[in-house]
Symmetry: C2
Subunit: 303 residues, 2 copies
């Protein structure tokens, strides 16, 4: 069995009973490839592998595969779902939420000014409403931790979620009602035709004044000029962005210098090579037994 | 029944079936006071109240009462223990831990410079060891959440703790061994004669190089010049301090401008007036039934 990989973290990839070919580094016969692992395979690449049994996405979002119009629909596509990845993303969300909620930027400024400014929270924890756009494995994990810390948490998702103390919203009609009750909005959606550009002027207008926005999904979810306009008119109080329409974020982007925007370079949750490899090794074993892993994506819905 | 209070948050205090006297605002007969609630009563004050049935501390640490050499030992002293307070402190700890662990200051500097610097964590979460000095109600609550997020967690406490996946150390002899395995040290100890000054040069020297220190207990736990020396020689990588020997922190303190120190003005966990009042109302009811609340402090050990 030969597996093709293209990710610098996997250049020394070792899988039991498999020869790993790193694309671009080795020659290989297209018909010899049984499995592929990638974030974003070149369009048409998968269709050129006649004996491909399955494709493994190295991250949680599979838009890098399904954006290929020639994706071979007969090939099962497996998402990376892992507790470590969920915990890392939750760490990032907690950090950005708490920097905002606990006014860390305010206290940093007070410290720089040498001032003891004993301000309390602008809004008590139990009155602070955190809303998730997307409540998959990662969102559900994070939501439970935020509920545990005393926040009000809601979520908008394709299917209703039954999480204790979480208010679940479903469907396009409910989106405005969901947004109207959110002080901190988190985008964790899969990127699909339906969700691209969902963080736009209309969405921001539906949020209460002073809301804060966090995008950790994909850059294409956000209409960047709409965010800047909503910040500059004072409707939104701030944003934390880890993903961007173009990465690296171009140096001329006005986001870099915006006082109310925190920028991180797509580091919220990084898959660890060995954890991913263990996951893929287990997944290959399932396919080789003639079964299908639970985390295979529905190609039609991209979930 | 008359209750004496001295806290701006309680100036409108209402307790069922009780008249609340706010000290300094009203005249009162010392013999009319049944209960006192305070953070730090003036030394000798409690001894001047002949009919005092119990004293309620408005916070988790009772050193403001027990530092009074004339504290009337016959009077039960009740600590404030509350899930909300534990969750608020945990929020603060998560924020400071994650700012350090996830390199937020580094990414802030990169953003100011307009640079996309996609650095990974300096240390993976599962290799990062967080150690608690003090594992009471608040420390135990926080420790469990950090374990859940993937950190290695240990604790040094008076009595051994049985928390799943937590490494428990007890007693003076074990202190150095505990410190030798800690990358992020959190002080949550009660302030007693034994613990005052515990964050000193010897303690810092026992930590691995590059360790980070968080003090959210009392300013008197920390020997501030020892901290500055340990930071300046590069042994410690940073500190986050919410409490200080003198509060407000004097403007001439070198801590204000230290590049590796985050200062917050004693805001980590603020007791909420109504939550505290509900707690005290319930506690008074217990005493009036002739019983003793579970959170009465042992005057001899201060725990």
């Amino acid at each position: 069995m030969i597996v093709s990989a293209k990710w610098k973290g996997l250049t020394d990839a070792k899988l039991d009973n498999a020869e790993v070919i790193v694309e671009g580094r080795d020659d290989y016969a297209p018909g010899s490839i049984d499995y592929v692992m990638s974030f974003t395979p070149p369009p048409g690449k998968l269709a050129s592998l006649p004996n491909l049994k399955a494709a493994f996405c190295l991250g949680a979002g599979v838009d890098g595969f399904l954006s290929d119009p020639n994706y071979p629909r007969r090939v099962p596509l497996v998402r990376f779902v892992d507790r470590t990845l969920s915990a890392e993303m939750t760490q990032y969300l907690l950090l950005q939420i708490l920097m905002h909620h606990r006014r860390q930027r305010f206290f940093d400024a007070a410290q720089r000014a040498g001032q003891w400014r004993q301000e309390t929270l602008q809004r008590r924890t139990e009155d602070t409403r955190i809303g998730f756009l997307g409540l998959g494995a990662i969102g559900s994990f994070a939501a439970k931790r935020l509920i545990d810390l005393g926040f009000q948490v809601s979520g908008w998702s394709r299917t209703p979620k039954d999480i204790p103390e979480l208010k679940s919203f479903t469907g396009d009609v409910a989106l405005a009602a969901f947004l109207g009750e959110v002080d901190i909005l988190i985008c964790l959606l899969a990127l699909t035709r339906q969700t691209a550009g969902i963080l736009n002027a209309k969405t921001f207008a539906a949020l209460p004044k002073g809301a804060f926005v966090i995008n950790v999904a994909r850059g294409a979810h956000l209409v960047e000029p709409d965010l800047i306009a909503a910040l500059d008119c004072g409707h939104l109080s701030g944003a934390a962005l880890d993903v961007f329409a173009e990465e690296p974020l171009p140096s001329q982007s006005p986001l870099w210098a915006h006082a109310d925007v925190t920028i991180t370079p797509h580091i919220a949750a990084v898959s660890q090579p060995q954890v991913v490899l263990d996951y893929i090794r287990d997944g290959i074993a399932v396919f080789e037994r003639g079964e299908t892993p639970a985390t295979v994506v529905d190609i039609n819905t991209a979930y």
